[in-house]
Every structure is written in structure tokens, then in C-alpha cells.
């Protein structure tokens, strides 16, 4: 068993284990904090704010249930005693899952709170998922159960907070910006097309011969009246390479470069759209153009595989 797996296994032994020390709210439930809350959330419920209305309907002013967590937020914490959830977090840290992000928070309300009640909280580890691959990196979802109590030990609410503890991915290697293509009179239209989301192919206005790479004089008829047409962007992989060495500016390695034959009959060198790189690349693979950024942020005509 790897060290990491052992740490996770140990963390699981703390699930359902004893909560940490009771943390006692600094202030009892009170009207000024309710006012702040209601103003911040634009909540005008009369049961929170209007003494007469509250007296008629509830017998007294109540606190917004959603404030459950706020009554203990600044409760002093004793560093020496650890609860089961603290152990789980410590072990995940040791296993390398050091980053944290809150996923969601569920509340269960047992009864409404009235002013003057002092609230305490105790927290314990309730659940730990299998390792998950997330957009942020590899991680574990943990569920911490917070029990909210009054001074006489009555549980008046339960909060369940789900956290993602994850391994911060290694910073993407700084590859720098991809070289910018030289743009002159004869190929300006092509790169303008990329900005406009069009794959433009040079074509002779006199005889309609297509040219890629474009040229200022038609090789077929000698005309200098050159225009362009817009490709459907559909084609097949005609050849391909995968670059491993040496490092290249503006290129994440390994890097697959495609020679695409468009259905119009011309070829161009391109690459996979970064977010859509297929598992394998092969001659004859059907592809479709898309315009996506390369390192440095410039757009390129890139391709995605079509099934």
C-alpha cells in the first residue's frame, strides 16, 4: 500500500468518530445581527423584523433560519483538541490533497430560534468519497457534520458541509507564446479570416484555381486578380507527427501536428484544438476546423475529430 493510500485508509477510520470540542458562540441570537442579515439579503420577513407581527404569528421575534451558521462563526476555537473532521483534513493534507474548496452546504432546521438563545457547534467527519478526478485536480469529497446546540444541549439544527480536498495540479509549464505568423499582402486575408471564424483559401478570380499556401499570381493562368473562398472546414488527416524534442516556444509537448487535406482539395498544416485532442491520430481521420487559441492566446485554425 502506498503511503498516500495508507493515509486515506487512516482517515476513513475517523468517519463517524467523536466530534471536536464544543465551540460556543460569542453573542446570543440578537436583533442587530438579524438586521444586518436582512438588509444584506433584502429579506423583509415580518417575523424577523416586526415585533407586533411576530408576536401575533410566532409569539416573539425569530431569527432567520438561514443564519444558523452565523451564530457560531466567530466562536473561539481551541487548537489543542481535534475532532474526527480535523483528523480527516490533517491526513488528506499529509497525503498531498492540500487545497480546499467548498462544494455545498445543507441545513436542517429543527426549530426556530429566538433572541437571547446562545448557540454552540460541534463538528465531526461523516463521509469521505473515493478519489475523484475533477476539473481542479485529483481529490476527495469530505462531508463534515455540524451540530448546532443550545446551552442545555438541545440540537436545534444540523449543517452538512461538503468540501473538495484536492491536489493542486502542477503549474502548467510556462511555454511562452506561440510564434506569430508573418503576415503580408499575400496572406493577410487568411489570418483576417481566422479572426472572423472563416477558413479562407486563396483562389484565382479568373480561373477559380485554389491555392494554399496562397500566392499573388495564379500558377494556372498567370492572373494577378486573386481572391479567396471560404472552406467548409471539413477534411481528413493526410499525415501527422508528434513532437517530443526539443522544447519549442509556445508549444506544450508532446505536440501533434496535422497535415489536413480539405474537401476542397488543398492541404494545410494545423493541429488539434487543445480541448479536443483525441486519443489517437491516424491517416484518414475525419476532421472539422474550429478556431481556438494557442499558447499566448492567438487564434489558429485547429481541428477536432469527427466521428
Amino acid at each position: 500500500m502506498t503511503n498516500s493510500a495508507a493515509l486515506i485508509a487512516e482517515a476513513r477510520t475517523h468517519l463517524g468518530g467523536p466530534p471536536g470540542p464544543l465551540r460556543v458562540g460569542r453573542d446570543p441570537v440578537n436583533l442587530p445581527m438579524v438586521h444586518h442579515w436582512c438588509q444584506a439579503l433584502d429579506d423583509q420577513n415580518q417575523a424577523y423584523l416586526d415585533e407586533e407581527f411576530a408576536a401575533e404569528t410566532r409569539g416573539h421575534l425569530i431569527a432567520p433560519p438561514g443564519m444558523l451558521q452565523t451564530w457560531t462563526m466567530d466562536a473561539p476555537r481551541g487548537a489543542e483538541l481535534m475532532g474526527s473532521n480535523d483528523h480527516v483534513n490533517r491526513l488528506l493534507d499529509e497525503a498531498g490533497y492540500t487545497s480546499v474548496v467548498a462544494v455545498n452546504y445543507e441545513h436542517e432546521y429543527v426549530r426556530e430560534l429566538q433572541h437571547g438563545e446562545r448557540i454552540s457547534v460541534r463538528s465531526s467527519a461523516e463521509d469521505l468519497s473515493e478519489e475523484k478526478k475533477t476539473g481542479l485536480g485529483l481529490g476527495y469529497f469530505t462531508t463534515v457534520k455540524h451540530e448546532y446546540l443550545t446551552d442545555d444541549g438541545e440540537v436545534i439544527g444540523i449543517g452538512r458541509m461538503r468540501l473538495l480536498k484536492f491536489k493542486p495540479p502542477a503549474a502548467a509549464p510556462e511555454v511562452g507564446a506561440r510564434p506569430t505568423p508573418a503576415i503580408g499582402r499575400d496572406n493577410q486575408f487568411f489570418w483576417d479570416g481566422v479572426q472572423a471564424g472563416e477558413l479562407r483559401i486563396g483562389s484565382c478570380n479568373a480561373c477559380q484555381t485554389l491555392h494554399h499556401p496562397p500566392q499573388p499570381i495564379c500558377r494556372a493562368c498567370g492572373s494577378t486578380d486573386m481572391g479567396h473562398t471560404v472552406s467548409t472546414g471539413k477534411g481528413v488527416v493526410y499525415s501527422h507527427v508528434t513532437h517530443h524534442y526539443p522544447k519549442l516556444q509556445g508549444v506544450e509537448l508532446p505536440h501533434t501536428v496535422l497535415l489536413v487535406e480539405l474537401e476542397e482539395g488543398v492541404r494545410l498544416v494545423s493541429e488539434w484544438a487543445t480541448a479536443a485532442k483525441p486519443e489517437t491520430t491516424y491517416v484518414g481521420q475525419q476532421v472539422q476546423v474550429s478556431f481556438t487559441p494557442v499558447p499566448g492566446g492567438e487564434l489558429r485554425p485547429t481541428f477536432t475529430a469527427v466521428s
Binding site: Q215, I217, V241, H244
Partner: protein, 390 residues
């Protein structure tokens, strides 16, 4: 044979664009227009042109001009140094080419936006990119930036079309390193490799392994060329130049001619082969050993096919069974090639050709009469045949 071109050649056509302070078009277009006007003035067609010569300062390479103006295959192309000093030298080189039959129709050209683009008088270079710069942008801006990657793209297609494998390419490496192992001048002297070593070497650019790629070398190599008559009075056995040729085929680009109908061959080397066999009166059966340009292994196979040592797609069979090693039917790169001896851009290979003719190679092939030497592949290229003095 007369040794002068004097009074043998003529200027048959002239053509120019308008002269302005702001042409409003690319330098490439100016060059293409001027060339086409000159060709028209001569009463010829663009496809008749088989030679180009210009200045080293010219930003429009011969291949860009040939492609743009729709010229034919080129058997002669040259660039001459020293700015305006090159002007009449373009006529001299064209005359040499035409008088000797190297080319029939050579166009000399020079075109630029000297006022509206980079102002010639300003010194430092800025402004409109050159046609060569734009050509490179079609590959480099997609991350295709190294010689190995440019060649790998051809290799992948060749494998697809003919079923060749990485192990087939490896046979070239194994042969070169075997020969280098017994050449004290070779960098990889006494370091032969196995096919397994080749297959286990790391990827450089799939489908090329490290051992498909030649080394980089510091060094120099020079050759002296004179008449056969004069050479006979000098100390060494004479290495006769039975043929020497250039080739730039239609659709030629520098290392990335990916836009031709067929990219599994090397038509520019085919053009060289055709000329060499015609000049020398020889054929594949007359060659006892060859120095086949090997900056990357795959192109060795295509070259053997272009020269007719085997049929298209069959080089993988031709090179198997040690056929290109010493003792085989066509030992190649007996100095170790550029993979094994040194990468002097082919010049060290010509020297090995001379040694084979002199019978002084460390890996001498018996009874050598003619040696084929080829130059860089993927680019406009050249080749020569060296022979013993009969």
C-alpha cells in the same frame, strides 16, 4: 570541348514592372510579374524556364518565384553575393548553365519594395515580411518548427502508403553506424548500434526516434575542382565528375513541400537522378557504392527509389538483409554517413566519394568505378557521380 561560353548564349527576353515609390503589392508579386513579362517578351511559356539566378540579398527565393510564376522543374538555381555587384554575374552564371547544357532557359531576376517597404538606405531591416518568412509561418505557427518534424510528416505518409516501418528506417541507422565504427575520423567510431538500440531510442518527433536523426557537428570540408587534364598532373588518382546536377521540382518548398499531389516521393531528387544518368551515360547497375544524404533516415529510402535502385515503395526490401552494408549489393555511406561520421551538410560525403575512387577509404568497396553522391533532401537539391579515370 570549348572551355568558354563566350558568344554561345544570348539574352532573349526582358521584362519589368513599373517603377514607383509605392508598388502596392508584395515583393513576391513584383518578382513574379517581372519574370513572366520577360518570359512573354522572349516568346516562351513559364514552363519553359528551367533555371533561375538572383542575388543573395533577394528576399524572394527561387522556389517561391518558381511556384508563383508557374515555372517548370528547375535544373539550375543560384544566388550571388555582394548586393548590386551581383547584377552581371547573374548573366555570367546563366550563361555558364546554358552553354554547358545544365539548363536551357535561365531567368535572372531582382525585385523589391525598396522605397515603400524596407527602405534600403535606412540600414536596419523592418517592415513587410519576406515571402520566405510567410512560407515558414504556415508551419511554425502550428508548432511544426524543427527539421526532424518537417521530415517526420513525409515519413508518416510514406509509411502509410507503402507499409514501411520504423524498423525499416532503423536499418539505415544500423548500416551507417556499422561503417562509422571502423572509421577513426567518425564521431561514432567504435560505437555500432543494433536495430534494438534504434527502436529503444527515445522519440524525437513521432515517427522518428533519436537514432533516425543525424548529429550536429562543428567542422569544415572543402574540395578542389579543376580540369581532368590538370588533375592528371597532380598527385592523387583522378576523381572524374561524370555528372553533377541540381533539382527543384514543381511545388517545391523548403522542407515542407506538403502540397503536391504525392508527398511520398522526392521529385526534386528524381529530377537530379534523370540528369545524372543522362550526363554520365550510367545507370543504377553501374554504381558500386553511394553516399546517400542521411540527415534523417526515411529520406534515404525515397532516394534509392528515385534513382531507380528499386521500385517505388520497395526500398524497405532493398535495404534489408545487409544490402546497404559493406559486402552488400550497394554499400552506402561507407564513412558512416552524417548519422555516424559528421553532419557537414553533405560535403563530407563528397569527400568519401573521392576516397572511394582513390581507393583510400577505410571501408573500401572493391573494384569501385562509379560513386553516386546525393545532397540534402526535402529542399531543392543536387547530386553528382564520381568515376575513376578510364
Amino acid at each position: 570541348m570549348s572551355r568558354s561560353f563566350a558568344r554561345q548564349v544570348a539574352i532573349a527576353g526582358i521584362g519589368a514592372t513599373e517603377f514607383s515609390k509605392d508598388s502596392g503589392r508584395s515583393e513576391l508579386q513584383l518578382a513574379g510579374e517581372a519574370v513572366l513579362l520577360a518570359v512573354k517578351d522572349a516568346g516562351l511559356e513559364p514552363a519553359d524556364v528551367d533555371g533561375l539566378t538572383t542575388f543573395t540579398m533577394e528576399t524572394n527565393s527561387e522556389i517561391e518565384v518558381a511556384k508563383t510564376a508557374g515555372l517548370g522543374d528547375l535544373t539550375f538555381f543560384s544566388k550571388i553575393g555582394y548586393g548590386g555587384g551581383a547584377a552581371c554575374a547573374t548573366v555570367q552564371q546563366a550563361a555558364i548553365a546554358v552553354a554547358t547544357g545544365v539548363a536551357d532557359t535561365v531567368v535572372c531576376y531582382r525585385a523589391f519594395n525598396e522605397r515603400s517597404g524596407h527602405r534600403f538606405g535606412s540600414g536596419a531591416h523592418r517592415g513587410e515580411p519576406t515571402s520566405e518568412g510567410i512560407a515558414m509561418g504556415w508551419v511554425s505557427s502550428f508548432g511544426l518548427m524543427t527539421p526532424a518534424s518537417w521530415v517526420a510528416m513525409f515519413a508518416q505518409r510514406y509509411m502509410h502508403e507503402y507499409g514501411a516501418t520504423s524498423a525499416d528506417f532503423g536499418l539505415v541507422s544500423v548500416a551507417d553506424r556499422k561503417h562509422a565504427a571502423t572509421n577513426p575520423k567518425a564521431w561514432f567510431y567504435q560505437q555500432p548500434i543494433t536495430l534494438e538500440d534504434h527502436q529503444n531510442s527515445r522519440w524525437i518527433v513521432e515517427p522518428l526516434h533519436l537514432l533516425d536523426c543525424c548529429q550536429e557537428t562543428d567542422g569544415g570540408q572543402a574540395l578542389v575542382v579543376t580540369t581532368v587534364e590538370r588533375a592528371r598532373d597532380l598527385p592523387n588518382p583522378v576523381a572524374v565528375v561524370s555528372g553533377a546536377a541540381q533539382g527543384s521540382a514543381q511545388g517545391q518548398q523548403s522542407m515542407v513541400s506538403y502540397y503536391r499531389d504525392d508527398i511520398a516521393g522526392l521529385p526534386e531528387m528524381g529530377l537530379v537522378a534523370k540528369q545524372l544518368w543522362a550526363q554520365s551515360g550510367l545507370g543504377p547497375d553501374d554504381i558500386q557504392t553511394a553516399v546517400v544524404y542521411d540527415h534523417f533516415t526515411p529520406f534515404v529510402l525515397q532516394q534509392l527509389e528515385e534513382f531507380g535502385f528499386c521500385k517505388r515503395g520497395e526500398a524497405k526490401d532493398f535495404i534489408s538483409g545487409g544490402n546497404i552494408e559493406l559486402g552488400g549489393g550497394l554499400p552506402i555511406n561507407t564513412h558512416g554517413g552524417q548519422l555516424g561520421e559528421a553532419y557537414l551538410h553533405g560535403m563530407n560525403g563528397i569527400a568519401e566519394g573521392v576516397r572511394q575512387i582513390r581507393r583510400t577509404s577505410v571501408n573500401q568497396v572493391p573494384d569501385v568505378e562509379n560513386v553516386l553522391v546525393t545532397a540534402g533532401t526535402g529542399v531543392p537539391t543536387s547530386g553528382c557521380i564520381l568515376s575513376i579515370d578510364q
